[in-house]
């Protein structure tokens, strides 16, 4: 249960408390800012090696190579915006026509790396005035062979690394205390490199595109340590983000990486089959995730065609994308649209694997007629709706920050002197349901725990997954598992949760895995202090009272004899070749029986809204008429209804209760 302030707790137990429901809209999905890209420039420059950065004062510094002449061109736009001239380039140097370039900026410093015409000498031109002027280039490294791709990361104290590829090997050169060290090869291995990206944030975070020894194309992340998530001056292993098998005709290249509000990445997916394409895809990590947790959402196609991708940078107010022939801007929209005063009715439903809300707003003067401009433009499909139940307390309006939803659609209604605007929004389970596997995902037995598989699925849907009192099974059981093309994330999560005793509740934008133990203490009491409007207390038979679990050459069964005495045996059989030991069979049997027991008491109470109530909480119920005194029950469903539209205002909560 969510923690409540004393005044809110007192208010919700007060029979004459005044309801208050806060409804806010933000341009966020999974609580990560949704970037609305606006293309500011369309030019005729060649699609080739390029780079971009934004130093501290917000100027946009871009660089590109003209492949026909091997010329490096530079551009600095001091205050980039819709009327800026992004077509004016200044020639900087004659450089290698086959190697990449890199830019990195921090505060007033801008580092521009390029490869000389000999294809092996890597030079640095450095600016100390936000890219307005550059000192004479210096040689940073001389490669052992023709250089392919470059990337650079710059720390605020001037420490920097340059990454470059020679064939399939990535080298790093580090600047510490103003002096460049010697190149050193990384400790990872690939068959080819088709792009590098780097940005500094607590460590040097790196993205590599290319092919693995198996011939499979991929995009991987790695960390070059600065002592935070990775020991200083060491490489982490490669973590796969995208993959394409050899001969599939799909390859990945030209990644870019930036950390504004969160880590954001773009890379190019190139398909050479029929209906070929070469298209950037973007992704970001979840709101609480860092580079190490590798919680990247499903990459999303970007409306642009390029084989050299787009470079990403940001100022304090906007994210920017740059390609030689294009510039895009997406302002960081931190505005919040508070609809609380217009709310006539809220119906919120939360159940295992489901959550949605319907919000009816007054529209008597047509205030929601035009959603295209002003603050109402935040009302878009996909926008985040934060619904927080509360009361007017002695300290003023107070709420408990409740679940988040995402707008699915809306409708206008009118007649009989009334006009309303109704928002329909869905919760995190629907985000999971709408994530569809676009390729075969398969994990061999032993490759990942159930929790890691769940985390992957939540991340792909743009959600975080945490845990709270999880079972040992969820962090130790490593099944062979597959998600087939077209399958949805919610189905995959359900399958995984059938293998463990744990459940997952979605709170805010995060899933929370928990093991609902039978001895869990109650966190709230429904009694004379928090009265029960009405109650219905059922006693049903178990859906099944006998379980047979078949594993690899083994079978184990379990019985609920009391139930069998009453209704004879109701059998459930489970076949899972992942179960190879007696202990695993026992864990599965226990988990199945436990979940059946939880669902066995079909009870329901209607109470004044408890602002902190969450799914799977344990509560006590005291209802003398039903012979219940501090009876422990687990919350298995919540329906909140708030209405001030009719003759009788309503502010109540219906709780579906099961056994603990």
């Amino acid at each position: 249960m969510r923690q409540l302030t004393d005044s809110l707790l007192a208010a919700q137990k007060n029979a004459s408390a005044v309801p208050y429901v806060q409804v806010r809209i933000r341009s966020r999905i999974g609580n990560v800012a949704r970037l609305a890209w606006e293309r500011l420039y369309s030019g005729g420059e060649s699609d080739y090696f390029h780079a971009a950065t934004m130093p501290g004062e917000g100027s946009l510094v871009r660089a590109r190579i003209d492949p026909s002449a091997g010329r490096l061109y530079l551009q600095r736009v001091a205050d980039p915006g819709p009327v800026s001239d992004f077509a004016a380039w200044s020639s900087f140097a004659t450089v290698s026509a086959i190697a990449g370039i890199a830019l990195a900026g921090s505060a007033a410093a801008v580092l521009l790396f390029y490869v000389d015409t000999d294809n092996v000498t890597i030079k640095l031109a450095e600016s100390g005035d936000y890219g307005e002027s550059f000192a004479a280039p210096v040689t940073v490294a001389t490669a052992s062979g023709a250089v392919g791709w470059l990337a650079a990361g710059l720390k605020s104290d001037g420490t920097a690394i340059l990454l470059y590829s020679v064939g399939a090997t990535v080298y790093r050169v580090k600047r510490s205390g103003g002096a460049w060290g010697s190149p050193a090869a990384w400790s990872n291995s690939l068959a080819s490199v088709a792009g590098l990206a780097c940005c500094y944030s607590i460590d040097f975070n790196v993205v590599v595109a290319g092919t693995a020894a198996s011939g499979a194309g991929g995009v991987w992340t790695a960390i070059y340590g600065d002592g935070f998530n990775q020991p200083i001056d060491t490489w982490s292993g490669l973590a796969e983000l995208s993959r394409a098998d050899a001969s599939s005709g799909v390859e990945f290249r030209a990644p870019s990486l930036d950390r504004a509000d969160t880590y954001r990445m773009l890379f190019v997916e190139k398909f050479s089959g029929s209906q070929s394409y070469s298209r950037p895809f973007w992704t970001h990590v979840s709101t609480l995730g860092d580079f190490l947790t590798h919680t990247w959402r499903e990459p999303v196609p970007f409306d642009f065609s390029s084989t050299y991708g787009v470079a990403m940078a940001h100022s304090s107010t906007a994210a920017w994308l740059s390609a030689p022939s294009g510039v895009w801007r997406a302002p960081f929209d931190t505005s919040v649209l508070d609809l609380s005063d217009d709310v006539l009715e809220v119906r919120e439903e939360a159940a295992p694997f489901d959550g949605r809300v319907r919000i009816v707003l007054r529209n008597d003067n047509g205030r929601y007629r035009d959603l295209t401009s002003g603050s109402l433009s935040l009302i878009r499909r996909g926008s985040q709706v934060d619904v927080s139940p509360g009361y007017i307390t002695s300290d003023g309006p107070a709420v408990s920050v409740g679940p988040r939803y995402w707008i699915d659609g809306w409708e206008y209604a009118g007649g009989a002197g009334k006009a309303t605007f109704t928002l329909h929004a869905v919760g995190g389970w629907s985000l999971l349901e709408r994530w569809r596997a676009r390729r075969e995902y398969a994990w061999a037995a032993g490759a990942a725990t159930v929790f890691q598989l769940l985390s992957f699925l939540f991340a792909r849907a743009g959600l975080e997954l945490g845990c709270h009192s999880s079972s040992s099974t969820i962090t130790s059981f490593r099944p062979s598992f597959a998600i087939h093309p077209g399958e949805d994330g919610r189905t995959a999560v359900r399958r995984l949760l059938e293998t463990v005793p744990d459940v997952v509740a979605i709170t805010g934008e995060s899933g929370l895995a928990m093991n609902p133990l039978p001895d869990q203490e109650a966190g709230y009491a429904y009694d004379a202090d928090h009265p029960i409007f009405s109650g219905r207390y059922g006693t049903g038979a178990l859906d099944f009272n006998r379980v047979q679990v078949f594993g690899q050459g083994r079978m184990l069964d379990a019985f609920d004899w009391e139930s069998i005495d009453d209704v004879y045996d109701r059998l459930r059989q489970v076949h899972d070749l992942n179960l190879t030991t007696a202990a695993q069979l026992q864990e599965r049997v226990d988990a199945l029986m436990r979940k059946a027991a939880m669902a066995s008491l079909g009870s329901e109470i209607t109470v004044p809204v408890n602002c902190g109530q969450e799914l799977y909480d344990v509560v006590t119920v005291t209802d003398a008429a039903a012979g219940l005194s501090e009876a422990c029950r687990r919350v298995l469903g919540i329906s909140l209804h708030y209405s001030r539209a009719g003759a009788s205002p309503v502010y109540q909560m219906r709780l579906r209760l099961g056994a603990v």
Partner: protein
């Protein structure tokens, strides 16, 4: 139990397993799929269409390739 279609990408006659492009997966193949022993090795020609039965849809080890066809 689900039946899915795919395209044969490779066949290991020793282990009698196949690598299959499950329909809808543009870029990634499923490897190590057991192949029905009643299918002659000579019929396992890459590029042919195939039918897969997943006894447990979530477990690729609990599946069998039951037919190849053109």
């Amino acid at each position: 139990m689900r039946v899915r279609k795919g395209e044969l990408k490779a066949f290991d006659s020793g282990a009698y397993t196949a690598t299959v492009q499950v329909a809808g997966s543009l870029s990634v193949w499923l490897s190590g799929v057991p192949v029905a022993r009643n299918i002659p090795a000579g019929e396992m020609v890459p590029g042919r269409k195939c039918a897969l039965i997943f006894f447990d849809d979530a477990n690729p080890d609990d599946a069998v390739l039951v037919a190849v066809y053109t």
